[in-house]
Point group: C2
Chain length 209, copies 2
């Protein structure tokens, strides 16, 4: 199929054009999805279309942690079962899901909305850093865990937040850097290997917890 | 991400579930699309959702050729510029697009809706074969071109249609089988090679047209 050839039906063309605006979804795949929906019950297209509209209009951001939420304050922030003295700082909503799925964290989150990246024009003011400082200032926060990407930008952001928070007497920690579980030493890069040597842990510590 | 872990937001969960019902689109990709839409203007999700609904409700099938159409009779069937004496028989709507994109055909189409496949429980009655016979019976059809897949099922269907139509005095032809343009002989399978020898054409015939 010629990618620039408009389709004979304007309705199909509109659906394919909108679908292909999704990330990594080309016109060919969009057409395949559209033709698939045409072969199915009308209810399926109706349910999909309505779910996307309802999701976009119904989901807001939690005014405390900036995670997605259908309420003013998200279920995590308002849950009495969570440890309110620990905040895990993450880049985005997806990272909250990833950490929740580990089942290893019972504290609260703070979604920055990205990392400091001068090359993309993202400075501290575009991120939810000031609101994190406010949270630490006002609450009984004991520890802030930095769980940002182990990249140049992530570590720059880590350092920026550390400089802001450390004078306030809160403990600032960072996710451990080390050899990925399942990886061979031979294929682990030298910087990671160096960090994993520096931060070595007593043998079996992870099992004893 | 655990694929079976429900998401914290029911609205997000509904959108991801509906998206992942599209063919070849897993839950991870569905989540990526949904989170992407959450980061964009509400108008984009609205446009996508509405386009899918409008498409499904607005597109019907042409009562003559069974191609998709927004009108009772599709633009191809009602166009005076098309040659009404030739019908190209295809499996599905996508095949009409592919053949239209070649720019080599000016006749009309007939969309069967599949091929005969006993293993999938698809017999001649599930396909638009009877309506093709009716078209040939009632119209001034000179030639029917069979453009079905070169598979066992496609050729079975070709033969079935040929048996139905040949007593009616219409010419029944089939797409040429041969070496794909751009392919090396070394990598062409022997059945195709055999067919391409049997159906060899005068050298340069394609250029002279």
């Amino acid at each position: 199929m010629n990618d620039h050839q408009p389709l004979s039906s304007p309705l199909l063309e509109a659906a394919v054009t909108e679908l292909s605006r999704l990330p990594g979804l080309g016109r060919k795949t969009a057409l395949r999805h559209a033709l698939y929906l045409l072969r199915r019950d009308p209810e399926q297209a109706q349910a999909l279309g309505q779910a996307l509209i309802d999701m976009r209009l119904g989901i807001k951001y939690c005014s405390v942690c900036h995670n997605i939420s259908e309420t003013e304050i998200c279920p995590l922030c308002s849950s009495p079962a969570r440890d309110g003295s620990t905040i895990c700082v993450v880049e985005n909503v997806k990272d909250v899901m990833s950490i929740e799925n580990t089942g290893q964290f019972r504290g609260l989150y703070h979604v920055l909305g990205g990392v400091i990246s001068p090359i993309d024009g993202i400075g501290p003011d575009q991120l939810e850093i000031e609101s994190l400082v406010e949270r630490v200032k006002s609450g009984e926060i004991r520890e802030v865990i930095l769980a940002l990407s182990a990249t140049m930008e992530g570590e720059t952001t880590d350092y920026y937040i550390y400089r802001k928070l450390s004078p306030m007497g809160v403990e600032v920690t960072q996710l451990a850097r080390g050899v990925s579980v399942g990886n061979e030493i031979e294929y682990t890069d030298e910087i990671t290997l160096g960090r994993s040597l520096l931060n070595r842990t007593p043998f079996g510590a992870a099992f004893r917890r």
